[in-house]
């Protein structure tokens, strides 16, 4: 009986947490007497949010943003996964490159912004580049780490059954490193989404980051906060879906032989 109730309420605790957050926010805007802050109240922001959703203005901005993140992640995966496999496989390559990667990883991608614009111009290209520079490292590092999971015995067994190099890559190495690859991808998605917003504040006229600046310039502060909430919500959904995907693809993981 009791455990039933605990489980029931447990499922909704995150929602309650969010409601508490909204209440605290509302209280903060009520207590601090500031005409600007009154625009940020829940009762002003949520109607804006609703308006953006029903007029379709929301999707016009979300789609370009998702496209930019998607393209950058795709390129980062296409480059990072083979790179990670090679580094994981050849110790020399690992020793050669890992310190440099750790070094590059610590540089905020935004630091490349002036160079990106100088070389790639204005538009989507520098955004792809900046997001790519954030996403590539966790993919490389996690993938190469995953290669360590590949047991030598599995490769011997595969050869015993007649596997060639290509079969070993496809049927042993890739499935074996998939858990780490998906972990890397999940981290990369989080970083990409965070980098995207400031990156969209330069030189493009669509996307969620751009909308923040645009709303500010129109003095539409309630709308601006609505965009902020949308950014958080989509980021959250992206993360949840990647976690779900990982759980689904790796159904065996909870039974892993130790």
């Amino acid at each position: 009986m009791k455990s039933e109730r605990v489980r029931f309420s447990g499922r909704f605790l995150p929602l309650w947490g969010f409601i508490i957050f909204l209440i605290l926010w509302e209280l903060a805007t009520l207590m601090v007497k500031n005409p600007l802050l009154s625009n940020l109240r829940v009762e002003k922001v949520f109607p804006e949010l609703w308006r953006l959703m029903v007029t379709g203005g929301l999707w016009k901005q979300v789609l370009p943003s998702l496209k930019r993140v998607g393209v950058a992640l795709l390129v980062a995966s296409l480059g990072g996964i083979p790179m990670g496999i090679l580094i994981g496989y050849y110790r020399v390559l690992e020793q050669l490159s890992l310190a440099t990667f750790q070094f590059l990883r610590m540089i905020s991608p935004l630091a490349w912004m002036p160079l990106a614009i100088m070389f790639l111009g204005i538009g989507d290209k520098p955004i792809y580049f900046l997001v790519f520079m954030g996403a590539i490292w966790p993919i490389i590092i996690n993938t190469s780490h995953g290669v360590g999971r590949v047991e030598k015995d599995w490769i011997k067994i595969a050869k015993n059954f007649g596997a060639m190099d290509w079969d070993i890559l496809k049927k042993i190495i890739i499935p074996a490193i998939l858990p780490d690859m998906l972990t890397g991808l999940r981290v990369a998605v989080g970083i990409s989404w965070i980098i995207l917003v400031p990156a969209e504040m330069l030189g493009v006229t669509s996307g969620l980051g751009y909308q923040i600046l645009d709303a500010r310039d129109r003095f539409a502060y309630s709308e601006m906060v609505a965009w902020i909430l949308i950014i958080g919500a989509i980021g959250y959904l992206l993360d949840v879906s990647l976690r779900k995907l990982r759980g689904r693809v790796l159904g065996y993981e909870k039974f892993e032989i130790t």
């Binding site: 067994i157 015993n160 059954f161 790796l250 159904g251 065996y252 909870k254 039974f255 032989i257």
Partner: protein
Amino acid sequence: MKNSKLPKIIVRNLGKSFLTPRGERVEVIKEISFEVQEGEFLVILGPSGCGKTTLLNLLVGFEKPDRGEVLIDGERAKEVSPERILLWQFFGLFPWRTIWENIEFGLELKRVPQAEREKIISELVRITGLRGFENRYPGEISGGMQQRVSLARALAVDPEVLFMDEPFGSLDASMRKVLEDELLRILSRKKKTVVFVTHNVEEALYLADRIIILSSRPTRIVKEIVPSFSKPRDEISDEFLKLKNEIVKILRTETQFLYTVGL
């Protein structure tokens, strides 16, 4: 077994040593020669650490000998081959594949058509007692079950020779007994040449057409024994116990207490 027939496997003057990380040379196999006839169940019995796994690795082709040669059907085997499958002590299943997919592994590599695959796998699932477990993952099932899967995966590619490296060594005594019986039953339907390695005297006597006893390292053949009574054997019969005592005596003198006797 006709002696006029060419032996399936000929092992001639095989020798193998390893270089340790410290640079010392460890001689594992001194000099070994024997033959395995087609369809024979040969058991190689030796104490732990004597070089049984090393010997199997040489026979399968994972390692190259320092001296001597291994002939399969009279010819020097160049590569490992699905015709000669090794079963591992710790099963060696792929954790990301279900039981069904593990058994399917070799058939995929052989590009066996889907319909035929299903026929082969469902038969093997049936005769190895895995029905109902097809969609489980290896981590979900017991060690005994996992070794059945490993056996089914090997049988799926219909190899000429099965090499088995203490396949039941990590199982408890009763499960081991069950699997020994199952192995004999399955082999009576699918005739194979088997080279079975163990350190367990009873297991050797229960399964073998012929037993080769190895000394401790550097290993050599101490004696060859052919149990004359037919299978299935009764482990408490006089002839069984008599032979068992004889083997234990040999191991005692040859291996300085390093032997193990099963329950």
